[in-house]
């Protein structure tokens, strides 16, 4: 088991080192092969681990990183069902995306660099989910932030892309700060950052302290998983190559926050306030991002806001106590959102780099494989019954209703928004007439097999992914819940869903009705559109401009900081602090020039002064000292 794990973790590092150090000497194909093989090895190792891992999980220690008086950090990994599930998602989807990238990035000269970064990312992500302590999780946490930075800014010669990368990193850092503070507080209370202290009922802290720790940890999750108010980096992160968006900004990295909360669920359940707070933030994010997505014209932006919104759903699930539902949605979302992003990448590829859906239309004939797989993705995300998205979202909505009906109605509206914007995207892209240029139409072609193969695999997963946990209504069995039960205590399962059967039927029926209505409405609206307006007015305009959040942040945070910086450096530092030093110097010069006139060359005068000084000193001693 140790060897397998070591191989699992180190394979991406080896890939990273080969591609990073000798990439310039390798051919593009070789880089891609090396990069993908590394992840394939990891994936196979993960699969091998499934058999050997005991139910309670096993902690595997390699060496001691740092041992100090009051702090110990081992390079140890905790392999249990939760981390194994995450590792499968990461390496599995990671491998597919590597495969896809080999085709997608074929024209880019920085291919080896790209694969090096991707491998480094997988390594960091594995560290994040497999590490056996919060410190190791933080290692991965910041590591994936770095890779995200590097990959968003992959085409760094474009200043805007580089800016987006910086923004992502800095916003993540804000979250990391919260995470770090939470870690310190945790360390102080429990004396260790190892997960082994996280045993339910053994955490002897006040609920206030629990709230403080969990809130701080959640700040970290807000940054990494793009929740309000720290979500703005994620849409900008679409500047990166599309496989990156699929891997990092949809399937894996952004779900780190969810994983972290599920991992520390024993702690989070101790603070009802935090749970409520998480649910509220999740719900608000789901709605907020959902509304923004309604009027975006950039295909990747729509998907980005949809990701933010879906992440909000996951947090809502966690907040209401349905940890496994959150994890379940994480998994299904990883499937269909990766699929959607890769599909979008394929569309962009076909459209020679065009990302604006206002310039697309009617693509279903030219790129059938992309169309069909994309359609499956859309169906999954909007919740066509029995697709994976339907099952997992259904579970979250159920749990939410048990938590608070009010939250449920709002969440349902959020789900409705999802249906609307996804269908809008779907219709505008694949139906109607082509609205792009002539050249684009001529160049249009279906992507090569190594790009469509991942699409097909993911499409299958998007459909069947839900079957592991069909609602009991349809005689399903919660396999996932059972599988995760050693790690996660599902609160909703405790309450039982028996009394809710009627409600579940109502929800199912409602979903179908809404879906049909939405199909009809959106098909009417967007199905045969000849042209799409690029600018919206009124509230739609506000939505199109993302509620002007970036502008507000810019005005409230960025500009003031810049002004403070200039003020401090130009005025305070230069004029006041240095001025003081300057004045001291000036005073010395001035006193020198003034006092030298006392030196008038008259010996008699000197002598007189000397006598007077002697008199004064002696007199002072006589009067006050003796």
């Amino acid at each position: 088991m140790n060897t397998i794990l070591a191989l699992l973790i180190l394979a991406p590092v080896v890939g990273f080192l080969i591609n990073g150090l000798y990439g310039h000497k390798l051919s593009k194909n070789l880089s891609a092969v090396i990069g993908s093989t590394a992840i394939l090895v990891s994936f196979i190792c993960t699969m091998l681990l499934y058999k050997t891992v005991p139910e309670t999980g096993s902690r595997i220690q390699f060496f001691n990183i740092l041992s100090l008086e009051a702090f110990n950090l081992d390079a140890a990994f905790l392999i249990d069902h939760l981390s194994l599930m995450m590792m499968s998602i990461i390496t599995g989807i990671g491998f597919l995306i590597h495969l896809y990238s080999a085709g997608y990035m074929h024209h880019d000269k920085g291919m080896s660099k790209f694969f090096a970064y991707l491998n480094l990312f997988i390594f960091s992500m594995l560290l994040l989910v497999a590490g056996s302590s919060y410190t190791l999780m933080f290692f991965g946490w910041e590591g994936v932030g770095l890779c995200s930075y590097l990959l968003i800014g992959f085409w760094f010669t474009n200043g805007e892309y580089a800016n987006a990368a910086k923004k992502a990193f800095v916003m993540n850092r804000i979250g990391d700060l919260g995470f770090l503070m939470g870690m310190f507080l945790f360390l102080q209370n429990f004396g260790s950052l190892d997960y082994s202290v996280l045993k339910e009922g053994q955490l002897h802290i006040s609920s206030g302290m629990a709230t403080a720790i969990t809130l701080l940890l959640f700040v970290g999750a807000m940054g990494k998983s793009a929740q309000l108010p720290l979500y703005t980096w994620l849409p900008d992160a679409m500047a990166g190559p599309t496989p990156v968006s699929a891997l990092i900004h949809a399937a894996t990295m952004v779900t780190a926050g969810i994983y972290m909360i599920v991992r520390s669920n024993a702690l989070f359940v101790m603070s009802p306030f935090t749970m409520h707070f998480i649910a509220t933030i999740g719900l608000a994010t789901a709605l907020f991002a959902g509304t923004i997505a309604l009027f975006q014209n950039d295909i990747k932006k729509v998907l980005a806001y949809s990701t933010v919104s879906q992440l909000g759903f996951m947090f809502l699930g966690l907040g209401v106590g349905a940890f496994t539902s959150g994890m379940f949605h994480l998994m299904t979302h990883a499937f269909f959102k990766a699929l959607l992003f890769l599909g979008a990448g394929s569309v962009i590829h076909a459209m020679s780099g065009e990302q604006n859906i206002a310039k697309m239309g009617g693509l279903r004939k030219q790129i059938p494989i992309t169309f069909w797989t994309f359609t499956i993705g859309v169906f999954a995300i909007i919740g066509i019954p029995f697709t994976s998205g339907f099952v997992s979202k259904d579970e979250i909505l159920n749990a939410t209703y048990a938590f608070s009906p009010m939250y449920f109605y709002l969440a349902a509206i959020g789900a409705g928004l999802t249906i609307f914007y996804m269908l809008r995207l779907w219709y505008l892209t694949f139906f109607g007439n082509f609205r792009g240029t002539k050249e684009q139409q001529d160049h249009m072609h279906e992507s090569p097999l190594n790009m469509t193969l991942p699409l097909m695999v993911l499409a299958v997963l998007s459909i069947v992914g839900g079957f592991i946990q069909l609602p009991e209504l349809f005689h399903g069995h919660p396999y996932l819940n059972e599988y995760l039960s050693p790690v996660v205590k599902n609160l909703v399962a405790e309450h039982g869903t028996e009394g809710h059967e009627g409600f579940e039927w109502a929800l199912f029926g409602g979903t179908i009705v809404v879906l049909i209505a939405m199909f009809a409405w959106t098909s009417n609206l967007f199905g045969k559109k000849e042209s799409v307006s690029e600018k919206y007015s009124g509230f739609a305009g506000v939505l199109e401009n993302k509620y002007y959040v970036d502008e507000i942040y810019n005005f409230l945070v960025v500009k003031p900081i810049e002004h403070i910086s200039v003020l401090l450096s130009k005025i305070v530092d230069n004029k006041i602090v240095d001025g003081m030093v300057f004045i001291t110097g000036k005073f010395v010069t001035w006193s020198g020039t003034t006092l030298r006139y006392i030196q008038n060359g008259q010996t008699g005068f000197y002598f007189l002064m000397m006598s007077i000084a002697i008199v004064v000193m002696l007199a002072y001693n006589l009067l006050f000292k003796l």
């Binding site: 008699g604 007189l608 006598s611 007077i612 002697i614 008199v615 002696l618 007199a619 001693n621 006589l622 003796l626």
Partner: protein
């Protein structure tokens, strides 16, 4: 008893002529008064049983140094006519300064405890005798003694160099 009277007499002489040194207009007179003061001090040395020093005082000060002064004054042909004078204000301030210096010294002395106060006379100590001094000087202080001879030599040369008539080493005029 005799020594006591002698002390007061010599003290009076010394102070009186010292004042005359300072206040007489003519430098030659000043110089001669100074010789008298030196004599008075030498007398005091005798009273203090420091005969060797008394003799040296007479030879060096009254004999050598004062002659040097007189020669210089005469060489420069100075008299009371071309005597520079200071303004009265400065004289006044100076007098106040000197007076208050004396005052402060005296006050300081009054406040100082000098310990048991044996009479100065009669003085049984014999270390002022030339034999004793010689022993000390050529045993314990032989090195400073030799060094001081070098100093004398150097000052001799310095005086010669300075007093030489040489326009070229004349920084003030040029």
């Amino acid at each position: 008893m005799l020594a006591t009277y002698a002390f007061f007499f010599l003290a009076f002489i010394a102070i009186f002529f010292a004042l005359l040194v300072v206040f007489s207009k003519n430098p030659i007179h000043s110089c001669l008064y100074l010789v008298l003061t030196m004599f008075a001090i030498a007398g005091n040395y005798v009273l203090l049983n420091a005969q060797f020093l008394a003799v040296v005082q007479l030879i060096v000060y009254a004999g050598a140094i004062m002659v040097l002064f007189l020669f210089t004054i005469m060489l420069l042909n100075l008299s009371s006519e071309n005597e520079p004078v200071k303004s009265n204000l400065i004289k006044f301030i100076a007098t106040i300064g000197g007076g208050s210096l004396l005052l402060v010294f005296v006050l300081a002395l009054k406040k100082t405890d000098l310990g048991p106060a044996p009479l100065m006379f009669p003085n049984p100590n014999q270390q002022g005798m030339i034999q004793n001094l010689g022993k000390v000087l050529f045993s314990e202080y032989v090195f400073p003694f030799e060094v001081i001879s070098i100093l004398i030599l150097i000052s001799l040369m310095g005086a010669v160099v300075l007093g030489r008539k040489d326009k070229k080493v004349n920084p003030i005029n040029e």
